[in-house]
């Protein structure tokens, strides 16, 4: 008994399917100049969904008991070989841009503002997590102080952390995540004043973003109309970085 099986045309069709697959799978392909920019552009769709559909500022991240802190909470900065220190003393934080009342805050002023302390889980884009305790002032309090105008839709956070190539570490944030009640300007970690390796004197912390969005070694916060980039975001990491 005979039975119809594959003919040449079927194999051609199979080839049409297999071709793009093997091409795309060819050794760690980022999409090349034709597709990679499109993938990055599409990432903006995910940013929009992440910010407007999946995220709510009424949703607080779960807090953990202090006993669950991670022992070797990783440190990260781009300055080499050692952690950066502020160039000019005394350090202060400039908050300006599209705001009605720009301010320059000293550490003393920042520490006098109402503080929050929480112990929560940190999510790194690499896939690991760590639990730590952070103390600082809610960014929303500082923003209430400077009164952003309608034109202030994004935040640009600058730092004095520079890689050996001279690129400064900075981030761009959406206003919504900045206003989340657990987004803080932190000056203490695990009940101790922030050390240089952790972003001293002041760093951004928030449980609603991945670690690379949390600017350390802060110098300036600028409210902007256009979406600022970021150190990792400019080279292809998702801009929102929301969890």
């Amino acid at each position: 008994m005979t039975r119809p099986q594959l003919d040449r045309r079927d194999f051609l069709r199979l080839g049409l399917v297999a071709g793009p697959v093997s091409l795309a799978a060819a050794c760690g392909w980022d999409g090349g100049t034709a597709i990679e920019p499109r993938l990055r552009a599409f990432s903006r769709v995910n940013d929009w969904v992440g910010e407007h559909i999946l995220q709510s500022n009424n949703r607080l991240a779960r807090e953990y008991p202090v006993s669950q802190r991670t022992r070797d909470f990783p440190q990260y900065f781009v300055t080499r070989p050692q952690a950066p220190v502020p160039a000019s003393e005394p350090w202060s934080l400039e908050v300006g841009g599209a705001v009605r009342k720009p301010v320059r805050l000293t550490m003393e002023m920042i520490q006098q503002l109402p503080r929050v302390t929480y112990t929560l889980k940190h999510h790194c884009v690499e896939g690991w997590t760590a639990i730590g305790t952070w103390t600082g002032v809610p960014l929303s309090s500082v923003l209430a102080m400077v009164e952003p105008t309608e034109k202030g839709r994004y935040l640009r956070l600058d730092s004095f952390d520079r890689d050996p190539g001279g690129r400064q570490y900075y981030n761009g944030w959406d206003l919504k995540s900045a206003m989340h009640p657990q987004t803080i300007l932190a000056y203490a970690f695990n009940d101790q004043p922030l050390r240089a390796e952790r972003g001293a004197p002041l760093r951004l912390y928030s449980p609603v973003k991945l670690g690379y969005k949390l600017t350390k070694y802060l110098t300036r916060i600028t409210l902007t109309t256009d979406r600022p980039g970021g150190y990792w975001e400019d080279v292809g990491y998702p801009w929102l970085g929301g969890v």
Partner: protein, 264 residues
């Protein structure tokens, strides 16, 4: 119903189902597809929507797994930072090291892998939903969904494959083991998508992440789904060629001229 189908095709006999009969049939492959061989009418088997979703899914799954392995490579362990879950890692078993080989990765680096993964995820989920919607609306789900009444036929089918039973059990479009496989792979697909969301937004979707046992375990279950897909695909392709090669053409052209022509 199954009996009736077999009776309607008297040329399908028990000997027809024996293994030796399957392989040698190159004679007819030169014929154009429109020609129906004597005694074996072509039956329309797969709607174009099903074929589209099937092949799109095959390509997208390769892309999702390869970009997923690129992401996995940024942290090749499971568990929180200062703890290591002692879980089975197929990459380590197959490759010797926990690092996924370059040929199996897509994206070049972590950001590239993320961008591929989060882009392909859309058509992956959408074709999955389209496929399920088609099954639900067309009634085709009846020939695919594994139900309690399929348990005994599945056992009989297993005995046949183990050569402990001589006669091929009667079947409709799919045998009971196929139903089990095609039903469970849809469930695994849904779990892969849900565990993906659980590690994509562990704070915003914390209820979902908690259902998977927390972020670290959700990440592991997402990884396990990969190996279920890989094992399924290998078995699926092997069985197509060994048991019913005509089903490959049916998934390409829609027309089936193999030895299981019933369409219950």
């Amino acid at each position: 119903m199954d009996r009736e189908n077999q009776a309607a095709h008297p040329d399908v006999t028990a000997s027809d189902f024996s293994r030796g009969d399957v392989t040698h049939t190159a004679v007819e492959s030169a014929e154009p597809p429109a020609v129906v061989p004597a005694g074996r009418p072509a039956v329309k088997r797969h709607h174009w929507l099903v074929r589209l979703c099937h092949w799109a899914n095959a390509i997208l799954l390769v892309g999702m797994i390869a970009s997923g392995l690129q992401i996995y490579n940024a942290y090749q362990r499971f568990g929180p930072r200062d703890m290591r879950y002692m879980v089975l890692n197929p990459v380590k078993l197959l490759h010797g090291t926990p690092s996924a080989p370059e040929w199996a990765r897509l994206g070049g680096w972590l950001a590239g892998g993320l961008n591929w993964h989060f882009t392909l995820a859309w058509p992956f989920v959408l074709t999955g939903l389209l496929y399920l919607a088609y099954l639900a609306l067309s009634g085709e789900w009846r020939s695919l969904l594994f139900r309690p009444r399929d348990i005994i036929p599945a056992a009989q089918m297993q005995l046949y494959y183990l050569r402990l039973r001589k006669a091929h059990p009667a079947q409709g479009k799919h045998n009971a083991l196929q139903k089990a496989a095609y039903t469970s792979i849809v469930v695994v697909g849904a779990l892969a998508v849900l565990s993906g969301f659980a590690i994509y937004k562990p704070v915003q979707l914390s209820w979902l992440t908690t259902l998977f046992g927390g972020y670290e375990y959700a990440r592991y279950w997402h990884f396990v789904a990969v190996w279920v897909f890989v094992a399924f695909t290998i078995l699926h392709v092997v069985l197509v060629f060994v048991v019913d090669p005509a089903s490959l053409r049916a998934m390409i052209t829609g027309w089936y001229r193999g030895r299981f022509p019933s369409h219950d």
